[in-house]
């Protein structure tokens, strides 16, 4: 693997560069719950942990992952915890007090933000967590930065005895570029840490009060470090004189700024901030004073912009500060070179550049869809059959099954976050007279589904919870979860049986079905809907993309029997179906042989292809 190369240059994905930086710093302990765009950090650790002799786990959720690693970091292990931006919300309870307690060995918490919502339910700007919790923060712009900042981040964290936030965005996580590699350090072996007891580690109110001023002192020290950090620097771009215009930028936005200034040959001073929290106030004030106009270029919220304005006000600096509040940039979505070019152009009175024209040809859409043979489609179809004639509400959850929102399945009515299907089902069951079937996956159930299920039982709510158990965490790239028999390092692990767990929550109706048996699945869901209390149906069939899934005979439509009723294409809607003229056919190259369509067909016109006929 390139990430373990001895030295020289390698083409690394941003997420791999973070792992490499951690290895060069001697990281010994890593924890994660997968989530795009952070997943490949965890997956890379998972692939190499055994070989390099470090500890890695996929934790049950982000909060637990942070707690596990916090204990390791206070016991002398350089630790890294990674999650997607919304995962930090889950970990926030631990995070904000962890900031008070601090660490002994360096601990990096990676927050992978997703401007533009490539794979997320919101585009929150997690730089506010650095402010909220009082954490030092680094923001890489390039892939080399991602490696260098991770490595250096351990030093900063350790000097301050404070966990450090490494805030990335999708375009850093999922970009590959050239990285100059350094030497890796051997990790500290398992079980060799030392925990020194200290009454200040137990955050009762008196300790918390004592800790808060210590935290503020650490932030003052961190600010002094930011003033001289190699990650904060002024870069002079040569070209046409544009007056005393300066740009302050951070993260991937710096890349767009640099490209625009170079391409258009504009002379400008750029303050590239990498160690962004606490903001190096002296450095920023000096920079502001050296310019007549300063443009703030940052994706999402005006986080730097508002701090710069507050600073200018405090110090009586009259420099014009432009950015989001002046309409030069938007708070929406991710940036690119074109957006940044037009923002800079407004300051320099360059004519606005028209966007490239889309095609005039009408294109069919190609959204992501449930795969051919996906067991979720079978469950959805069965629930639809069982629900005929009823007024239904379908709260859904985070995972591949969200793709069931698209017609013709249309099996998703409400979604907030991990585990929200169960919590909101509780509310809908009290607030409405509808029949409620909530959907969530196995990994999501372990992550955040158990407390709301207990809530439902105790508060006598009535709904059906369908746990779509496909034996993996599919959407983020097939990571193991507590229901599977392998851990994050590839070792055998006890699988937690869902049935026992659900019964333990006090649920009286717990049945398991194989959604590939359509008739039985419909029958069990009908029974569950009639049950007067909370009912749980575990719909178990492995994800068809999992390795080692048995190959099954493909299916075909018998044209002589087919009545073209279109139930298979218009209601079940497996993407393996297509029309040839008015004939319905099955694309053999993508059919998985799951057989469900043959059970859907009212005229038994879909049959397994006879091998060797």
């Amino acid at each position: 693997m390139d990430v373990l190369a001895k030295g020289g240059k390698a083409l690394l994905l941003g997420n791999e560069a973070i792992v490499r930086g951690a290895l060069e710093a001697g990281v010994s302990f890593a924890t994660a719950y997968p989530g795009t765009p952070s997943s490949e950090i965890a997956d890379t650790f998972s692939a190499i942990a055994k070989e390099v002799g470090m500890y890695f786990e996929y934790s049950v959720n982000e909060k637990v992952s942070l707690e596990v690693a916090a204990a390791a970091a206070i016991s002398g292990y350089r630790s890294l915890t990674c999650m997607k931006h919304v995962g930090v919300n889950v970990a926030a309870d631990a995070l904000l007090t962890y900031a008070y307690v601090g660490c002994k060995s360096g601990h990096i918490i990676v927050s992978a933000d997703d401007p533009g919502c490539h794979s997320s339910q919101n585009e929150q700007d997690n730089r506010y967590y650095a402010t909220l919790a009082s954490l030092p923060m680094l923001e890489p712009s390039t892939i080399q930065d991602a490696k260098d900042m991770t490595k250096e981040g351990f030093e900063i964290s350790e000097k301050l005895s404070q966990p450090l936030l490494l805030r990335t965005t999708t375009r850093v996580n999922h970009t590959r570029s050239v990285v100059e590699l350094g030497e890796m350090k051997a990790p500290k072996p398992r079980g060799t840490g030392q925990f020194d007891k200290d009454s200040l580690l137990v955050t009762v109110p008196s300790v918390a009060r004592a800790r808060h001023p210590i935290l503020l002192k650490k932030m003052a020290d961190a600010e002094a470090m930011a003033e001289t950090s190699k990650f904060n620097k002024i870069i002079e771009f040569a070209g046409k004189n544009a007056g005393k215009v300066g740009i302050i930028t951070s993260g991937v936005s710096y890349c767009y700024v640099a490209d625009v200034l170079r391409e258009f040959g504009i002379a400008a001073r750029v303050l590239k901030l990498g160690f962004t929290h606490p903001m190096p106030r002296k450095m920023v004030a000096e920079f502001l004073k050296s310019c007549e106009t300063v443009l703030m270029v940052e994706e999402l919220e005006p986080w730097l912009e508002e701090q710069a304005k507050a600073l200018a006000y405090e110090q009586g600096i009259k420099t014009k500060i432009l950015g989001k509040s002046t309409g030069h940039f938007t708070r929406l979505y991710e940036y690119n070179t074109d957006i940044v070019r037009n923002g800079i152009g407004k300051v320099l009175s360059m004519p606005e550049q028209a966007p490239g024209e889309n095609t005039s040809v009408k294109l069919p859409s190609r959204p992501p869809i449930l795969c051919p043979g996906c067991p979720h489609r079978a469950t959805y179809y069965a629930v639809k059959q069982a629900a005929k004639g009823k007024s239904m509400i379908y709260p859904t959850d985070i995972g591949c099954y969200t793709l069931g929102r698209a017609p013709p399945l249309s099996m998703a009515d409400y979604l907030l976050c991990m585990g929200s299907s169960v919590g909101t089902a509780c509310g809908f069951s009290v607030a409405t007279n509808s029949t409620i079937v909530a959907f969530l996956g196995d990994s999501t159930f372990f992550h955040a589904g158990i407390p709301p299920l207990i809530n439902a039982v105790h508060n006598k709510e009535k709904f059906v919870l369908a746990i779509l158990d496909n034996r993996t965490t599919a959407m983020t790239g097939h990571q193991p979860n507590p229901g599977t028999d392998k851990d994050g390092m590839g070792y055998e692990a006890p699988a937690i049986p869902l049935e026992t767990l659900v019964k333990g929550c006090g649920v009286e109706f717990v049945k398991t079905v194989n959604p590939r048996n359509l008739k039985e699945t419909v029958r069990v869901f009908k029974e569950a809907m009639d049950f007067p209390k909370v009912a749980v149906v575990i719909s178990r069939s492995p994800c068809i993309l999992l390795k080692g899934i048995k190959k099954e005979p493909k299916y075909e439509v018998d044209q002589a029997t087919c009545k073209k009723c279109k139930v298979c294409t218009a209601q079940f809607a497996c993407p393996a179906f297509y029309y040839e003229g008015d004939k319905i056919k099955i694309d053999e190259s993508i059919c998985t042989g799951c057989s469900v369509c043959s059970q859907v067909c009212p005229f038994t016109a879909i049959k397994a292809k006879c091998e060797g006929c």
């Binding site: 490539h118 999922h174 970009t175 570029s177 991937v252 070179t337 889309n358 069919p364 859409s365 179906f577």
Partner: protein, 198 residues
């Protein structure tokens, strides 16, 4: 970008090997001693959806090719060329696999797939040069339809737009495919080059 920048847009459908093709081009650029930035798409988009990757060889740092800035677009599927046509200019070379992957909405009759003539006319109107090939069939001829992406890398190489030699690109291919599939991929690569040159 001005100067020696070469920007390649790759567009296709989840599962077609677009990501691997982009990584191969990135590795080849490094082998040739060049700076490169490759942007990828992961997660939800991969489930049969439209997939885009961008390979930027040269001094550019930003991972996203500006509008009208692509020097070449490699369409793993015909309509996926048109979906990103705003990235092209009158100078852009288009390498298009004519093998269709029909979207489900079309397969079941709710949307229409434009005619190949309409697609070709739009590309010719907007772009510099169209290199069209049956990459799927050529890959099959090389030994496996799974090497369609390598045929397209070959065709891109054969178009002459890359600032790397064929040998360097082949070296990058060898680095990225399992040892037992090196021969079939080399054949696929050569067939792609040949198709672009003929």
């Amino acid at each position: 970008m001005t100067g020696k920048q070469t920007d390649i847009m790759l567009s296709g459908v989840g599962g077609q090997g677009t990501l691997l093709a982009a990584k191969i081009l990135g590795d080849a650029a490094i082998l040739a001693g060049k700076h490169v930035v490759v942007s990828e798409v992961h997660g939800m988009a991969q489930r049969g959806g439209s997939v885009e990757c961008m390979v930027r060889i040269g001094e550019a740092l930003g991972p996203i090719i500006p509008d009208k800035g692509a020097d070449a677009i490699v369409g793993f599927e015909p309509i996926e060329v048109l979906r990103y046509i705003q990235k092209t200019s009158g100078k852009t070379i288009v390498v298009m696999n004519s093998h269709k992957v029909v979207p489900f909405t079309v397969a079941t009759g709710s949307e229409k797939y434009p005619s190949m003539d309409e697609i070709r006319a739009e590309i010719k109107k907007r772009c510099g040069k169209l290199i069209e090939l049956e990459a799927y069939d050529l890959a099959f001829k090389a030994g496996t339809s799974l090497a369609t992406n390598i045929v397209l890398v070959g065709a891109l190489c054969g178009s002459g737009i890359l600032p790397m030699t064929e040998e360097v690109v082949l070296q990058a291919i060898k680095k990225n495919v399992p040892a037992k599939y090196v021969d079939v991929n080399e054949r696929a690569f050569r067939l792609g080059i040949q198709a672009a040159k003929s």
